[in-house]
């Protein structure tokens, strides 16, 4: 505390002369959006690898029929932990990291609005995931009831149970604080000329995402709290004998869970909307309608949750409503896809790594969206539900969807972060291996699902062998391809020096500051107009 006040007085005349402090304190006590952003990104990469390793366990076991490596209960733990870690530890923090780094630069703010809270949002995460990962060593094993934590099954978890609940609480706490910070930064810290509708798409999609986060993370916290009290304090929320209902949990969970999936895709839309115009050398088509479409998606995401529950025995009217509402989401999402294509249309395109990842995103996300639409058709979903068709759907929207967008963003902004160009050849190699293997992994899963393979099983009937083997080979290929990315990062500072602009077609405030972006960026509020006119 005293340290803070002393610093303060010293900085009275000008904050910006101070560089980062030395040692671990720079990271542990950081209030700098760039440092915190870096920590988020590194943390998420670490989690991606841990979650991915668990996926490798899953895929190894499933490579051929029969049990080879693990026991069924451990297999279920792997599935559960894989999903929790990927969703809450890899994808979400990666987007928060990008937000931390880029939003202040894009809107001309000196930092995030609430810098100390920003630090706390981050440092809760290692605690949360430390607790979650420690459950692997506990009596009764790690949670194995699926990432959806449905009761009564989840109540059969061993000692890990309360740890699971509280780690989810912590993840929620971190996300809520992160989201508050994003909202306040965007609403309160924009440069004078940066009106709302001039804001870059990435900023917009993050603003909407942050609202979603604040609205649904507390609901998840409520849901898991009820699990906790049902387990330890005798409440009967999810017990029919007491007047509750196990399905009630599913309603509350998916009220969170469905917006959650858009939390994982809207910032991805934002990243892609930044990159495509840059490499098409043309302004983003229909900026405003993109904003409306994203808002529409966010709104609709609150009223479609029960499409995950088409087999629980809802009354007919409920099913009809949720089917129609779900189908509607295809419309605003379509608007986004069409606008990206219209942006490319008659542009002057080049294909650097970020652009390649973005293009693959548009293709493969759309395929994932199509299977989503098929899932929305209730009678058909009776057949698809809880099969590998669903697994195929959501990995298409999450891996070549969210993860590719994160990769694209990383390549796109890397020169701005490090001051050096990454190795383009290696980047392209990373892209091509990833793209080939991701399809090899997840496309066959559509067939498996249609042919009748349920999800969350450690072993399967022999007729499913071929596609499972292909998927497993693909998965290992995809996993190894990610090592190329590590190589890119490790050599990121070896490349030639980057210019401020970095890309020929780049646009926006972040490209007006030096590369690497100085520790403190904007001392005086920049003129946003400069950036916005760069295309005219």
């Amino acid at each position: 505390m005293t340290a803070t006040t002393v610093d303060t007085n010293a900085a009275d005349h000008d904050d910006h002369d101070h560089g980062p402090t030395k040692g671990i304190g720079r990271w542990l006590f950081s209030t700098n959006h760039k440092d915190i952003g870096t920590m988020y990104l590194i943390f998420s990469l670490l989690m991606f690898f841990i979650g991915g390793s668990m996926a490798m366990v899953i895929r190894s076991e499933l490579a051929v029929p029969g049990l080879q490596f693990v026991h069924p209960e451990f297999f279920n733990s792997m599935t559960t932990m894989h999903a929790l870690i990927m969703v809450f530890g890899a994808v979400m923090p990666a987007f928060v990291g990008l937000a931390n780094w880029m939003i202040p630069l894009m809107i001309g703010a000196p930092d995030m609005a609430l810098p100390r809270m920003n630090n706390w949002s981050f440092w809760i995460l290692p605690i949360a995931f430390g607790i979650l990962l420690s459950t692997l060593l506990m009596p009764g094993g790690a949670p194995a009831g699926g990432w959806t934590m449905y009761p009564p099954l989840v109540l059969q978890t061993g000692d890990a149970f309360p740890f699971l609940i509280f780690s989810v609480h912590l993840m929620g706490l971190s996300s809520i604080m992160g989201a508050i910070n994003v909202i306040v930064t965007i609403i309160n810290m924009r440069a004078p000329d940066m009106t709302l509708l001039k804001m870059p798409m990435f900023v917009w999609t993050w603003l909407i995402t942050a609202y979603l986060l604040i609205a649904v993370m507390p609901v998840l916290a409520g849901a898991v709290t009820m699990l906790l009290t049902d387990q330890f304090f005798g409440t009967s929320f999810f017990l029919a004998a007491g007047g509750g209902d196990p399905v009630m949990f599913q309603h509350i969970f998916w009220f969170f869970g469905h917006p959650e999936v858009y939390i994982m895709i809207l910032p991805a839309f934002g990243v892609v909307s930044e990159i495509i115009p840059t490499f098409a050398r043309k302004k983003l088509f229909g900026h405003d309608s993109m904003v409306y479409a994203a808002s529409c998606i966010a709104f609709l995401s609150f009223i479609v949750w029960a499409h995950h529950m088409f087999t629980v025995g809802m009354p007919l009217t409920g099913q009809l409503f949720f089917m129609f509402a779900t189908m509607l989401i295809a419309v605003p999402t379509g608007v986004k896809i069409f606008n990206w294509i219209a942006t490319m249309w008659r542009g002057s395109m080049t294909f650097e790594t970020p652009m390649l990842f973005s293009l693959a995103f548009v293709f493969l996300f759309t395929i994932g969206g199509f299977s989503g639409l098929m899932l929305a058709i209730q009678p058909a979903d009776v057949q698809y539900h809880d099969t590998y068709f669903v697994v195929a759907h959501f990995h298409y929207v999450l891996v070549p969807g969210s993860v590719f967008a994160i990769m694209a963003g990383a390549y796109y902004w890397l020169p701005k972060w490090t001051g050096h160009m990454y190795n383009e050849k290696i980047g392209k190699l990373h892209f091509w291996t990833s793209t080939i293997f991701v399809n090899l992994t997840f496309f066959p899963m559509h067939f498996l699902g249609l042919a009748g393979m349920p999800r969350r099983i450690p072993d399967y009937s022999t007729q499913f062998t071929d596609f499972n083997t292909i998927a497993s080979v693909g998965a290992i290929g995809f996993g190894l391809s990610q090592l190329i990315f590590v190589w890119v990062l490790l050599t990121a500072k070896k490349g030639e020096t980057a210019t401020d602009r970095v890309w020929e077609g780049s646009h926006g405030l972040e490209w007006t500051v030096p590369s690497p972006a100085p520790w403190h960026t904007f001392t005086t509020p920049p003129k946003a107009r400069i950036a916005n006119e760069s295309f005219e």
Binding site: P65, G66, L67, Q68, P72, N76, G145, G146, Y150, P152, L153, L239, A240, P246, R281, K282, F285, G286, H287, G313, L316, M327, V331, G334, V335, I337, F338, A342, W345, R346, G347, S348, M349, T350, L359, V362, T366, I367, M374, I377, P379, A380, V382, Q383, H385, D386, T435, N439, F443, F447, L450, A451, G452, P454, D459, Y460, S461, Q463, T465, F535
Partner: protein, 268 residues
């Protein structure tokens, strides 16, 4: 590249409609509703393919024509209300076209009135219990011995040699052909889900709640399915087998069961 693998695989799906053994697609099944479900599935699938052709087509053309290396100069347009209205309206229309038959099928699926036969299914970790409401027959059904022996780690059995590995049970559910069978589904412990693809039925078995569903099989045969809701460590090991038999055979079967004949069902 992406395009190639995508269309290659789409081609595979199409091929599958021709060859049945190499299961790539949803089964057409043996009930009217399973056929309707299949049709719905294919209808939406073809819509997606059609939209995909247009969307990816335009994109690919652009990717080839509008590249800098081809000397393309960037245009300056960045907005067109007409275009945007069109590509909002067309999907809406397509969705409407899809939603009508979907709703129709859904309504039929939910209509469990006037059954010829009612069976109460209770799920357990990890087996099924079937009780024919009026026939006075009830029994448990769990994973067949052969699979049980083979499924363990280092069991020494090559699972490829086990017939219907993981999809066979000791006592199958026997129902008459052409009868409307109503299933009343509940669970004794955690949530399970009773699924037989060929009958296009998947319904959750929830403790404390009874769910209803129904089917009417048009063809005699053996149909296999599995539990479709994660229910603990042996979730992968609680298959379902339904044997659809001629009505007379069904009567005979009921009688043998009543007499206490233990395993005749599987002998059939």
């Amino acid at each position: 590249m992406i395009r190639k693998s995508f269309w290659g695989l789409v081609g595979l799906v199409m091929a599958s409609t021709a060859s049945a053994e190499w299961a790539l697609n949803m089964p057409k099944g043996v009930t009217d509703l399973s056929a309707e479900t299949y049709d719905l599935h294919m209808m939406v699938f073809w819509w997606c393919v059609a939209i995909g052709v247009v969307v990816f087509g335009v994109m690919i053309i652009s990717l080839f024509k509008h590249r800098k290396s081809q000397g393309a100069e960037p245009a300056t347009f960045s907005h067109s209300t007409t275009a945007e209205v069109i590509w909002t309206a067309i999907p809406v229309v397509i969705l409407l076209l899809m939603s009508v038959p979907a709703a129709e099928t859904m309504i039929k699926l939910e209509d469990t009135r006037d059954p010829d036969l009612s069976i109460v299914i209770t799920a357990y970790q990890w087996k099924w219990h079937y009780k024919y409401q009026d026939e006075g027959v009830e029994f448990y059904s769990s994973l067949a011995r052969q699979s049980v022996d083979a499924r363990r780690r280092q069991s020494g059995v090559d699972v490829n040699g086990v017939e219907n590995y993981l999809l066979d049970v000791d006592n199958a559910l026997v129902v008459p052909k052409g009868a409307k069978v109503r299933l009343l589904m509940t669970s004794n412990d955690v949530i399970h889900s009773w699924w037989v693809p060929e009958l296009a039925i998947k319904k959750d078995a929830i403790p404390g709640i009874v769910n209803e569903t129904w089917f009417k099989a048009n063809e005699v045969g053996t149909y296999r399915g599995q539990c479709a809701e994660l229910c603990g460590k042996d979730h992968g090991y609680m298959p379902i087998v339904v044997e659809v038999v001629e009505p007379e055979a069904f009567k005979a079967w009921v009688n043998t069961r009543k007499d206490g004949g233990a395993n005749l069902a599987s002998a059939q």
